[in-house]
Symmetry: D2
Subunit: 135 residues, 4 copies
C-alpha cells in the first residue's frame, strides 16, 4: 500500500456557493478532482496527455464523502489528496479538505474516498497503465 | 422504517456534461437534491418555505455514491428518491437513477445514500420539524 | 427575417443559486442553451443527432445579456427562445426570461441575444445545414 | 476614464468543460467574476468584506461577450480585468482572456464587458461606496 501526499490550495469562488451562503456540497467533488489532477502532475504526469495519447479515461466508480464543516465565498482551503491503494483496474484516493483561517489555524471540513476505474473509449474496463499503478 | 417513493424525470443539459462527453460525476448530487425537493413537494411541503419560515436549513452531512453507468447530453433519466429512515436530527435518503432509452427500457446508472442534518442559521444542529420526521 | 417562438418552463434548483440567494448570473446562459435545444426539438430536430450524424457543432460566438430582475431557488421561470435571423454560417437567437409568481403574473427578469456559428470537428466554420437555415 | 489592470492565471478544470471537449461558454462569466474579485483585492479590498460590513451587494446588470477561440481541460489562461468607467451606481469592467501555450505565446480567446450595479439587501440601487468609485 502506497500512501502519497499531494497538497493544493483552493480559493472559493462566488459561483461555487449556494443560497445558504456556503460552498454547495456537490462542488467538493470538483475540488477533489482538481486534487487528483495535481497529484498526478506532481508525479510528472498530465491527466490530459493520458487521455489524448492512450485513449484511456479514468472514470469515477464510487465516492464516499463526510461533511464536517462548511466553507464560504473567498475562503482559502487546503486539500490533501492521496492514493490509498491501486488494484488491477482501480485506484482508491483519499481526500482531506481543511479551512484555513486568517490566524493560520486549520479545521477539517470535508473528507472522503473515491474509487476510479480505467476504461477505454468504448467504456470497457482496462488495466491501469504501469505509471498509475506505481503511484 | 418508512420507505416513501418519489419519482422525477430529468433531461440532461449540455452544461452538465464534461469533456468525456458524459454527465460529470459531481452533477449527480445536484440531481439527487432535485429529487429530495420534489419528494418533499409531493408530500405537500416546499423546502423553500421551510428555510424562509422556520430559519432551519437542511445540510448534507454524508454522501455515498456508486456509478454503474453513464449518461450523455439529452438523455432522459428517471430518478427515484426515498426516505430510508429519520432519526432525531437526521434524515437518510436513498437514490436510484435510471437511464431510459428510446425503446423504453431502463438501466440503473447511479445509486447512493445521503444523510441530511437539520441546523439553524448559526449552524447548530436542531431536532427535525415533526412533518419531516413523519415522512 | 423569420421569428419563431419556443416556450419552456424552468424550475430553479438549489445548486443554481449563489451566496446572494439568487440564481447566479452565469447560470442564465445554461437556461438559454436549454431554450435553443428545445426550440430545435419543437421543429423536429435533435441537437444531439446533429452533432453525432453530421459531425457539425454549433458554437457560441457572441452573447449579450441584460439582467432586469432576479430569481430565487424553487422559482418557476418561463423562457421564450426565438430565431432573430440566420445568415450563412450563423444563427442569431433572442431570449426573454420571465419570473412567474403564484398569482400567475409574469415579470421579465433577463433578456439577451446570441450568435451561434456552425463549425466542424476541426473548429472550421461551416455553412449551416439547410434545416437550420430554414428555421 | 480610469483604466486599471488586474491580471490572473486560471487553470481549466475538468468540470468546466462540456461534451464538445471545450470550456462551456457560460463558464467564462465565472472566470470574469474571479477577475473582478482579484482586481478588487489587488487594490486592498475584499469583496466579501464589502457584502458583510456594508450590506451592499454588487449585481451584474449587463454582460456582452465575444468568443474568439476555445480552451480545453488543463489549459492555462491569463485573464486581464480592468475598470472601463464608474458612474453613480455602476461600474463597467472589461475583460480579455488569453490562452497561453507551452511555447509561451498568447492568443485572445474571449473578450467582454460588464455593467455592475450596487444594491442593498432589499435590491434597491445604491450609490457606489467611495473606494469603488475611485478604482
Amino acid at each position: 500500500m502506497s500512501l502519497i501526499e499531494g497538497l493544493i490550495q483552493i480559493r472559493v469562488t462566488y459561483n461555487e456557493t449556494d443560497g445558504q451562503g456556503r460552498v454547495h456540497h456537490a462542488q467538493y467533488l470538483n475540488y477533489f478532482e482538481r486534487g487528483r489532477v495535481e497529484l498526478l502532475r506532481s508525479k510528472g504526469h498530465r491527466y490530459r496527455d493520458l487521455e489524448l495519447s492512450t485513449g484511456l479515461m479514468l472514470v469515477v466508480s464510487e465516492f464516499n464523502i463526510r461533511y464536517l464543516g462548511a466553507a464560504a465565498f473567498d475562503d482559502v482551503l487546503e486539500l490533501r489528496t492521496f492514493v490509498i491503494r491501486t488494484r488491477g483496474v482501480r485506484i482508491e484516493h483519499g481526500y482531506e479538505l481543511f479551512l484555513l483561517d486568517d490566524a493560520g489555524s486549520r479545521a477539517k471540513i470535508v473528507e472522503g474516498e473515491s474509487v476510479i476505474a480505467c476504461v477505454n473509449r468504448e467504456g470497457k474496463v482496462q488495466r491501469l497503465p504501469d505509471f498509475l499503478r506505481q503511484l
